[in-house]
């Protein structure tokens, strides 16, 4: 084992919650180490949801996420949002999007209101923060402007025809066309990341623009799968728009999704500049106590390093992130064996219908916390004074149905970091 790293705060988890927590801590001068494998974020669409649906059983979508929040907090006092000071929810969002913008990743919001973004299925997904690369679609959809959706031969699961067909009732003036991506083996499966990276080269952008321009003669906007560059998406989009002579917009694809990857790369690039020490190659395999401090073993088979921290924020996510684990009988928190709030027995975990609007009870399972975001033991007391939890590992929420994933991640990370600082 290498030497021991000392820090004030260890953030465990490298999803949106862990990233946001590290940012907030660093911005407040806290000496922070962040550990985790940032793999899940590529499943993110890159849209920053605040709150879209409440109550889920009624499928009620909201234009104003802040009114929705009031209602949610009144109806579900155990929801993690209910423990965050209300003004902090927007503050947290703005601090993260401000940071992403410094890294070139600009998010737009519709003056405090939710926006409906077109997905690769042609559905309209309510969200709050919209990547600038997707923003042009909002106005064009409103105006029902004649448009062209482009897809790419070899990119599976993205059909321009599907999008135009599904959108027909709300956006009838859409056409579709297919192109061969410049210089890519057109007879193979194509993936979004190599295409997005290839557009860093201006010559490739020119070739792409030359393909699209003749197809887009009689339209006012062009939609594409989300491949318009990585950190350089702003330049890529602007350059292509100049050459084509039309506004463009991206449509988020099925995973792996470039907008999710852009968020990860921006954090990875910019957090170290803020002084955060990142350990993104390995997971934390064990957490133990040494007097009042925590010792975190990093790496599973042979621990590669150890972190000693005065406080820990657990942002390990749910089952996909390995923050929770279920065998046939029980849901557990594997790192500290914290008590997990859960529906009684396995027959109760999932509904008989996948799309049951009430959502599955297992998705409300998770860690219960106090107002200072400290996980509770079975008697309702904080397990440790300096252990905090944030994000989707928390109980009494269903981010997938409520469309509140990113917002809840940021707001709870904000609250957890504040609680750590206040305690200190």
């Amino acid at each position: 084992m290498n030497d021991e790293i000392n820090c004030d705060l260890a953030v465990v988890g490298a999803g949106m919650t862990g990233m946001a927590a590290s940012l907030f801590a660093a911005n407040r001068g806290v000496d922070t180490v962040q550990i985790g494998v940032a793999s899940q974020i590529i499943f993110s669409s890159g849209l920053l949801d605040l709150l879209g649906v409440h109550p889920v059983e009624e499928g009620n979508t909201w234009d104003d996420p802040f009114l929705a929040l009031d209602q949610l907090i009144a109806d579900l006092p155990d929801h993690p949002y209910a423990r965050v000071e209300k003004s902090h929810i927007l503050k947290a969002f703005q601090e993260v999007t401000g940071f992403l913008a410094e890294g070139g990743l600009v998010y737009q919001v519709n003056e405090g209101r939710n926006t409906h973004v077109i997905t690769s299925l042609g559905t309209l997904k309510p969200t709050y923060g919209v990547p600038r690369t997707m923003w042009n679609s909002v106005k064009a959809l409103e105006e029902k402007r004649p448009g062209l959706i482009i897809d790419i031969k070899g990119l599976r699961g993205f059909s321009a025809l599907q999008i135009t067909e599904t959108l027909k009732p709300v956006w009838p003036g859409l056409r579709h066309a297919r192109i061969l991506f410049p210089d890519m083996q057109s007879t193979q499966e194509l993936y979004t990341e190599p295409m997005a990276r290839s557009l860093a080269v201006p010559e490739n952008r020119k070739k792409l623009a030359d393909l699209i321009r003749p197809l887009a003669k009689d339209v006012g906007i062009v939609g594409l799968p989300a491949i318009l560059g990585m950190q350089d998406s702003h330049d890529v989009q602007q350059h292509l728009e100049e050459m084509i002579g039309l506004p463009l917009f991206e449509i988020p694809t099925m995973p792996p999704s470039i907008p999710g990857l852009r968020i990860r790369e921006t954090f990875e690039m910019k957090l170290p500049e803020k002084g955060v020490r990142l350990q993104y190659q390995n997971r934390v395999s064990q957490i133990s106590r040494d007097k009042d401090a925590f010792l975190l073993e990093i790496g599973s088979n042979s621990p590669v390093s150890r972190v000693r921290a005065r406080g820990v924020i657990l942002a390990t996510g749910r089952f996909l992130g390995k923050g929770l684990y279920a065998d046939r009988k029980l849901i557990r928190e594997p790192l500290l064996n914290l008590p997990v709030y859960q529906p009684g027995i396995r027959p109760d975990w999932h509904r008989f219908d996948f799309m049951d609007p009430r959502g599955h009870l297992i998705n409300r399972a998770g860690l219960e916390i106090d107002d200072r975001f400290r996980p509770l033991d079975n008697s309702g007391k904080p397990v440790f004074d300096n252990l905090f939890a944030a994000g989707s590992i928390l109980a009494h929420q269903d981010w997938m149905r409520m469309k509140c994933g990113s917002g809840m991640a940021m707001a709870t990370a904000y609250a957890a970091v504040n609680a750590f600082i206040e305690r200190d």
């Binding site: 499928g59 299925l121 070899g154 059909s159 996909l320 975990w349 999932h350 219908d353 799309m355």
Partner: protein, 530 residues
């Protein structure tokens, strides 16, 4: 209103109906095969895929044992493409009934079934996963059969001889005049349009639904319903069929099928046919029982579960449903005052051909046709449209003749575009709609480790591209497909499959919002007594 004419209307698109359609067509008789949903929607599509040697029945049903032995041997010869002749083992473990074990070889001999005693050492050499508590083992000529391919091949040949398959066609009622069914009224469930079929003879081969179909004609059929649930493993666990050497009980058969194995079953009496899905309780029970025989079954990964209903004859019999006859019934409804209706139900996948032959003999005698049955000697042709259901086949072919332009739509099971193309055209030939569900029935799409998450999206996009779906049909197709698969996944959600389910929901609901605006279905619960 549409009025179709044929010599024989067969109701039920499972293996029995398909077998009758082929048998009659080979005798030169024109048939319409009407199926409410899709082929093998009932028990024919929800069983082990076991071609019984008969050994399973030697102790309690010598007739069934002998029928299985004869029919099993015939099918191995006549339909080899549908069968994987794996051989089988009967194994007893500590605590199993010694007397039953001692009687087994003699009972097999009585029914003419080859059962070779195998030393424990040899048995474990054949199948290293067997429990170390093994006390006896016998080798028997069990095999594994692909029920989808078998049914589809029967239908394909019937169609090539001029008969017709009508999917999504539900029988609503019969018009009866002077002891005869004059017309049968059906509804096309896709278009919601009613239509009629005029036939000289009507055969009710609707399996567990035989009672309700016969009731539409005022004829009683005495049926019991026994639900059985099964589990599909992620990997193939054994090379041979493994049977527990004890009186038939829960979870005592493990059947290999290509790259997977199938473990089951339960036997739960149900009162009606609305609740045919596996429950968590059943699955846990199967796991506990099955792992006594093969301990690895406790820790292995399962891909999905499914349930079928055994139609059992005679509601007056009490006791375990397994002791009720597994034989089949051919009911001539003349005694109920109808001269041109017969019901055939019960039986087993292994004996489907015999059931079809007996039913076809009755129909022919009523029609005054004396052409003999040909299915006893005529091999079952192997058509191109019916081969994509076999686990592990598409990866093999894809690796062999990979055309770089032939993109994989399903990566877990390696189903390429070209397979979907050929399925689309064969579904069109059968007047069907090639939606995701129909493709799923005919291929491995959705049956791999991703539980349909990625392949449903890719295949749906492809269906739009080739113009098979438009507007929001594709989205509804995805919802229907995922809901269908969910039934079989829901009871298996722990460890890795639970993570997979969470990813699926994150994409389908979190990212695409596909659940928004959907209606709640009526509440279901874990019903059925064990």
């Amino acid at each position: 209103m549409n009025n179709l004419q044929t010599q024989v209307l067969i109701i039920g698109g499972g293996i029995t109906g398909a077998g009758i359609a082929r048998d009659l067509s080979l005798r030169g008789i024109n048939c319409i095969l009407a199926e409410r949903y899709d082929v093998n929607a009932g028990a024919s599509g929800a069983n082990h895929g076991l071609l019984h040697s008969g050994a399973r029945y030697v102790s309690n049903d010598a007739t069934a044992a002998e029928e299985c032995r004869q029919e099993g041997a015939l099918l191995k010869k006549l339909a080899p493409d549908c069968i994987d002749d794996t051989g089988g083992l009967f194994v007893a473990i500590q605590g199993d009934d010694d007397n039953f074990v001692a009687d087994f070889p003699g009972l097999c001999a009585r029914s003419g079934i080859e059962a070779r005693s195998v030393s424990l050492e040899e048995a474990r050499e054949m199948e290293p996963v067997l429990s170390d508590k093994l006390v006896a083992a016998y080798q028997v000529p069990d095999a594994s059969v692909d029920p989808f391919k078998l049914t589809l091949e029967n239908i394909l040949q019937a169609r090539s001889l001029g008969s017709t398959l009508l999917r999504h066609s539900e029988v609503l009622g019969f018009e009866i005049d002077q002891r005869r069914i004059v017309r049968t009224r059906l509804k096309n469930l896709l278009t919601n349009e009613d239509f009629f079929v005029e036939a000289e003879q009507v055969v009710n081969a609707s399996g567990a639904w035989a009672k309700s179909v016969a009731a539409l004609a005022g004829c009683p059929v005495d049926l019991l319903y026994s639900k059985g649930s099964l589990l599909v493993t992620h990997n193939r666990i054994t090379q041979k069929v493994i049977n527990r050497l004890r009186p038939s009980s829960n979870a005592d058969i493990l059947v290999p099928g290509g790259t997977v194995s199938i473990l089951g079953t339960t036997s739960i009496r149900i009162e009606n046919l609305d609740a045919i899905y596996p429950t968590v309780k059943e699955i846990d029970f199967i796991l506990e029982e099955g792992s006594a025989m093969i301990p690895a079954l406790e820790k292995t990964r399962y891909i999905r579960a499914y349930s079928g209903v055994r139609p059992l004859l005679g509601s007056t019999t009490a006791g375990d449903d397994r002791s009720v006859s597994r034989g089949f019934a051919l009911l001539d409804h003349q005694e109920n005052g109808l001269d041109n209706l017969a019901t055939v139900t019960g039986g087993k996948l292994t004996t489907y051909r015999l059931m079809a032959e007996k039913a076809a003999d009755l129909i022919c005698s009523r029609l005054g046709i004396s052409t003999p049955c040909l299915t006893r000697t005529e091999p079952l042709p192997s058509g191109a449209g019916a081969k994509w259901t076999k686990p592990g086949l598409t990866p093999k072919l894809w690796a062999k003749h990979h055309d770089p332009d032939d993109l994989l739509l399903c990566e877990c099971e390696m189903v390429p575009k070209s397979v979907v193309d050929s399925l689309i055209s064969s579904i069109h030939q059968q007047n069907g709609t090639p939606d995701l569900k129909a493709l799923g029935v005919r291929s491995r799409i959705g049956k791999g480790a991703c539980q349909g998450t990625f392949c449903a999206l890719r295949t749906s996009a492809y269906l739009y591209d080739v113009g098979e779906v438009s507007r929001d049909e594709g989205l509804n197709g995805i919802r229907a497909f995922i809901s269908e698969r969910w039934r079989g996944i829901r009871p298996l959600l722990w460890e890795t499959p639970l993570i997979q389910a969470e990813l699926q929901e994150a994409i389908y609901c979190g990212m695409f919002g596909l659940e928004i605006g959907q209606k709640t279905e009526p509440q279901r619960s874990e019903v059925g007594k064990q």
